[in-house]
Amino acid sequence: MTDPRERPLFDAPAAGEQERMVEAILFASAAPVTVADLHARMPHGCDAPAALEALRERYAGRGVEVVRVGDAWAIRTAADLGFLMARETVETRRLSRAATETLAIVAYHQPCTRAEIEEIRGVAVGRGTLDQLLELEWIRFGRRRQSPGRPVTFVVTQEFLDHFGLESARDLPGLKDLRAAGLLESRPPPDRASEEAVDEPQEELFEEGDGS
């Protein structure tokens, strides 16, 4: 791997030239390319992040765009032009409701164990559901949880981010709201029940039920 801070034998190429290089590399690859990969392929002393930033601006609003996918970068066609691409469209298997929900749970709760998925859905995860998501490479095995039984966890992949056009898992739609509402926790937030009692005085059920 090239360390750009190493004292270069030759001067690094001019910024415009670096931008051309990054452009060529991103165009040539169907999969996202990491900054480390860019540095490894470009001459010593190049500053790939700067070139990427310039390139991203250059392509803003064009027919193809420079997008960030996790810690990698790619060029993708603009989404509003999808209608032109009937020929390139990939028929995707329709995912079952179980599979889409499981995927959402993994994405929003990751790392997430099978037991947690089942707890949220209130039903066992069928064989084939996780399998399908693993095959699509939208989820993968993450670290084992440091709890009794050391269960394996699932996390979403770069392919997941790429497929759904997300820069990172932090950009999942509505993530902040869900977190603020306490819906990504395993128990109701402590103030929940009392807050309801105030909102809805006739609903005596929730009175004094201050959660945990």
Binding site: I25, A28, A98, E101, A104, P173, R192, E196, L205
Partner: protein, 260 residues
């Protein structure tokens, strides 16, 4: 389950036909999903849901399923039992000496679970509705090979690796059937071994300790060796060479040389 029979026994059988939620459990992804559907019929924010009404609705549903003699999956019945318990907790005055979460806590948790499930369901819908690769935006149609250094590049994915391992670990399960003698110990072999070892079995010894070392680790081999040693010892008992005993079901089988 029995205690709820009396609760809302008034639910007329005739009403069943009009009910949109005929007892077709197939359409639901488990009891929580069914509860969520019921909860929506209350037409209030899930945070304001009446858990008591919800419990009644669910228990009615289970009751009707029973009348129609429809078999409900076990998890639906478990949920019914839990809701019946929750209902009684909510209706009866709290017992001050009672430990554990209050009825209100439990109800709040259920409401939370429903809200969380619905949130995840919405999130899934939003996710699937996003612009997607291969449908709305597209990758380079003619990617160029971008490789470095090595001329031959070997690839293997994690799935392949795991499948290879699974295959090794479970190969006996899906290998075409062949008689493979090397992992089977015949009774004759066991008999021969035991005859040689009989001299050492003056006192009761666990039969499993007679098995040769190489045959203990692998489950299939161990099974075979156990069976053949057991058969061989019966043969030796018949011949009057040893005695055999087992204290209770599944306890170790012990053998002892018979001295005449």
């Amino acid at each position: 389950m029995a205690e709820m029979a009396g609760s809302d026994a008034g639910a007329p059988v005739g009403a069943v036909a009009e009910e949109a939620l005929i007892v077709d459990v197939d359409g639901f992804e488990g009891p929580l999903d069914l509860l969520l559907t019921f909860a929506r019929t209350q037409k209030v924010d899930l945070r304001q849901i009446s858990v008591l009404a919800l419990a009644r609705q669910y228990l009615d549903f289970v009751e009707r399923a029973k009348i129609l003699r429809i078999e409900l999956a076990a998890d639906y019945l478990v949920m019914a039992a839990w809701l019946a318990f929750l209902k009684s907790r909510l209706l009866l005055p709290p017992d001050p000496g009672e430990e554990g979460p209050s009825g209100e806590d439990l109800a709040a948790h259920l409401a939370f679970q429903l809200e969380r499930l619905e949130a995840m369901r919405d999130a899934a819908a939003r996710l699937m509705g996003r612009d997607r690769k291969g449908r709305d935006f597209f990758v380079r149609g003619v990617p160029e090979q971008i490789e470095r250094k090595r001329h031959v590049r070997y690839t293997a994915g994690l799935m392949e690796l795991m499948q290879a391992y699974s295959r090794l670990r479970t190969r006996d399960e899906f290998r075409p059937y062949t008689m493979d003698r090397d992992r089977v110990m015949t009774m004759e072999e066991a008999l021969e071994r035991m005859r040689d070892l009989l001299g050492f079995a003056g006192s009761w010894t666990d039969l499993s300790s007679w098995m040769p070392d190489g045959w203990r680790r692998d489950a299939v081999m161990r099974r075979s060796a156990t069976a053949s040693h057991f058969a061989a010892s019966l043969e030796l008992v018949k011949a009057g060479r040893i005695e055999i005993r087992q204290d209770e079901t599944f306890s170790p089988i012990e053998v002892r040389r018979r001295d005449d």
